[in-house]
Symmetry: C2
Amino acid sequence: MDNRSSPWIQTVTLTPPSLKDNTADADRLIQTLKSRLDTPAIDIDPELLKALPTLLRTSAFKVDCIVFKEKHQWVLIGVSDANMATPITGLAIDLGTTRVVLRLLDLADGKTLAESAFDNPQDAIGPDILARIHFVEKENGLKKLNQLIIDGLNKAITKLCATQHLDPEHICALSVAGNTTMTHLFMGLDPRWLIREPYIPVVNTPGIVKAQALGLDVNPLARVFIFPNIGSYFGGDLIAGILFSGIYKKSQTCILVDVGTNAEVVLGNKNWLIACAGAAGPALEGGVTRMGMTAGPGVIDRIRVDPKTLEFKIHTIEDMPPKGICGSGVIDLAAQLFLNGMIDIRGKLVPAICGSKIKNIDGLLHLIIVPASQSATGSDLTISQADLDSLIRSKAAMYTILETLTASVGIAPEELECFYVAGTFGSFINPGSAITIGMLPDLPLDRYQPLGNSSLGGAVLALQTDKYHDRIDQIRDRITYMELNVNQDFMNRFSAAKFLPHTNPKLFPSVKVGDHGLNSPAGD
Amino acid sequence: MDNRSSPWIQTVTLTPPSLKDNTADADRLIQTLKSRLDTPAIDIDPELLKALPTLLRTSAFKVDCIVFKEKHQWVLIGVSDANMATPITGLAIDLGTTRVVLRLLDLADGKTLAESAFDNPQDAIGPDILARIHFVEKENGLKKLNQLIIDGLNKAITKLCATQHLDPEHICALSVAGNTTMTHLFMGLDPRWLIREPYIPVVNTPGIVKAQALGLDVNPLARVFIFPNIGSYFGGDLIAGILFSGIYKKSQTCILVDVGTNAEVVLGNKNWLIACAGAAGPALEGGVTRMGMTAGPGVIDRIRVDPKTLEFKIHTIEDMPPKGICGSGVIDLAAQLFLNGMIDIRGKLVPAICGSKIKNIDGLLHLIIVPASQSATGSDLTISQADLDSLIRSKAAMYTILETLTASVGIAPEELECFYVAGTFGSFINPGSAITIGMLPDLPLDRYQPLGNSSLGGAVLALQTDKYHDRIDQIRDRITYMELNVNQDFMNRFSAAKFLPHTNPKLFPSVKVGDHGLNSPAGD
């Protein structure tokens, strides 16, 4: 027995054939693997048969076997001389709409070898899913979109392998977690029905596909585990996130929030999982302000207001001169403005407090965060009343989704054992600020846990053991997807959530707002 | 439900998707097929997914599905509009060393559409297995041999389909039965270890392979069932023959004999199967005489001697002028010569009886069967004493193999319920003549049953239902292969069998030889 942890690599020493046992090479190897893996049958990729007889004899019948679990069946996809220690690696892929992240792993022990990321080259066609799906309807549109992502992946794979002095041939197993549209485009499947009622994917459970069939330049026999989806709006990236969070095996009920363009929320425990998604995000990603942008060097990610001077204390990523503000910065800013009376509970700028920081541009109030003299752009970095209004709508939508989902199963937010926040949003956000503006429920801060790239994390797990493949199916099958019904009840909740932090302050006992005199809507 | 007999074609009408059931196209189809086939899982070929959404919608969700059973799992390999009645065909292949036979079937009802045959183009490399295996050791030798048979098959497939106005694309399932070496060359597998101790195939149970991977120009998603082998000397053609004969399900013990270059014999019933093979054949195929040849127009296949005039009454295939004699003709001839005292019990020509039909060429006695004036070749068609000696050795080997195998399980030949004789040999042979010379045991003639091309017959069955695939595995696993030990016991039996019909006439009570005075060895 080999003592490596991975089930994918099995080192076996065969009894050489004899006149008394003339079992064929392949059948001899499979027999041994079957008893090793305790499985009734193992397929062998027919391509492998060609090299097998010579390999077995030159390696003196001691070989490293690479096996992978297809849907219900193990398959032997690689055999190499055990005396040669051929590197055997895996690649986990987070297939994002805007950014694609790769992590190269040693399949033998699951350790990370290297990681890289690149902007999704489909962005040239359209920055969002919808634009890309419409492009599919043009001649060769699907082919072009598919080629863009496959070419992009192949280039990134070649580079990533080069950093480790490896050949892409050494990648024998891959896993891919992406949203439903990206997964379709990656597989070359027509996504047009995803955006037409009744919103039907081509496939929910793609399972395991040969890398060669997908056009990936890795080992031609490599297998690709593709995360399943539940529907158009709940993709494999989220299922990977659920797997990574471990929420599906918790005794206590937890919640997982992934905020991108949409807010996707999963609530549950080891017994049940309920999910919903809703438009909440644009204000929280790049879109909120003209100066808004995704996280990167020079972007303001944290901000404080000095309660005495009302001066802004900003922090930028990599401490570079400020050029914009990202979602977490905007939330910090709004919380600080609110706590210091610079905006009222409707999110309206309070000129009496803000003083000279306010300027009127084309009839719209703007708050200057960084004056032109200190900004990297040479212009004032400002946030307008419209930006703030947009943020308020986003935070209200977010809170309403959370409230609606928890209420649907009769759970109060304070009963949530753990609140996982996925993605870059989760990594950068200051939960205290999010609570202050009433975007997230008023839980003790230690219940908030950033997950990082949970989609990639789930993809990595899928390369660790086949047991996760079954769990992924179980997770998919266990999720109840709740359509967010935008009915009167929802709208009432939404209206109440459009105040800072909420019309019902009892929901946010920790948010202590000083008496700034002007801290209620004008006219109250 | 459709009422077609084939399990491979399932016509299904799906409930179209709705907001209440947004299951993906592929998963929707698979769900229905799973309940139809009562199986826990069905794979779908990823290539199919590309066309699926449009196809489902243009066919109003009523489709013909082509499914095939891979080793332990059904797989969906084709979907077409059920309103279009796309032809769906299968191809059974008997992959012979010298001749390849194809039968095109309608997969829906299993009916034969057309049949064709061609000479194995690998003959250009070498007429026999051994020459071809040695050729593999030359540069690109394996590739060339593989290409020859694949190209030959592709040409034949194109022609065969054209006769039915079908496109080879319409062939969705294939089955291939060949000996172990031919199967290796067909799959592009190195056969060199088959002829080196301990005689190991690359694979015993190739199972099901994609036609595309084999280079066959049929539907790219078509699956090929490849018959398993037991070892170098017991190939898929014989397993197909066992399947076709039905011997594996008989209550009574039966025997199956396939005579080619080797004599392959299987003895058994529904409880057990025992097999062996031995060199017996060359004299019985083309090789026995200089005028000997395989069956074809103008070849003498039946012969009688007029007891009064000792004239030969010949029958030729298609009644063409005689140009040679095939195995069945030689056996007829020997039996008739023996019954009429023209050869003695050692098979030696008796000049006193043969008279002017004998001529001495270079010191060797020849018997003129057809004088030059009546032959198609313009020369005398003769059989020499050496030819007769060779036949006697062959028939003795054949009988000894049968006797050894039956004796090994304690069965007397007369206990055999049925004696199946496969191949062209079985189709042409006159069992009475074979009994007369002591080649086959003295059973009532109605127990002898010619099987025809049992290898092709078995291949056809493998395309009828997946149940046969399991039976084929069971047959393979149930066979005990007996190495023919050429020990003293075997040699004693062989010596006794070198007489006509045998040294022990009690074994052949039906053979009544007239008293020709000279019918015992000279000197007795």
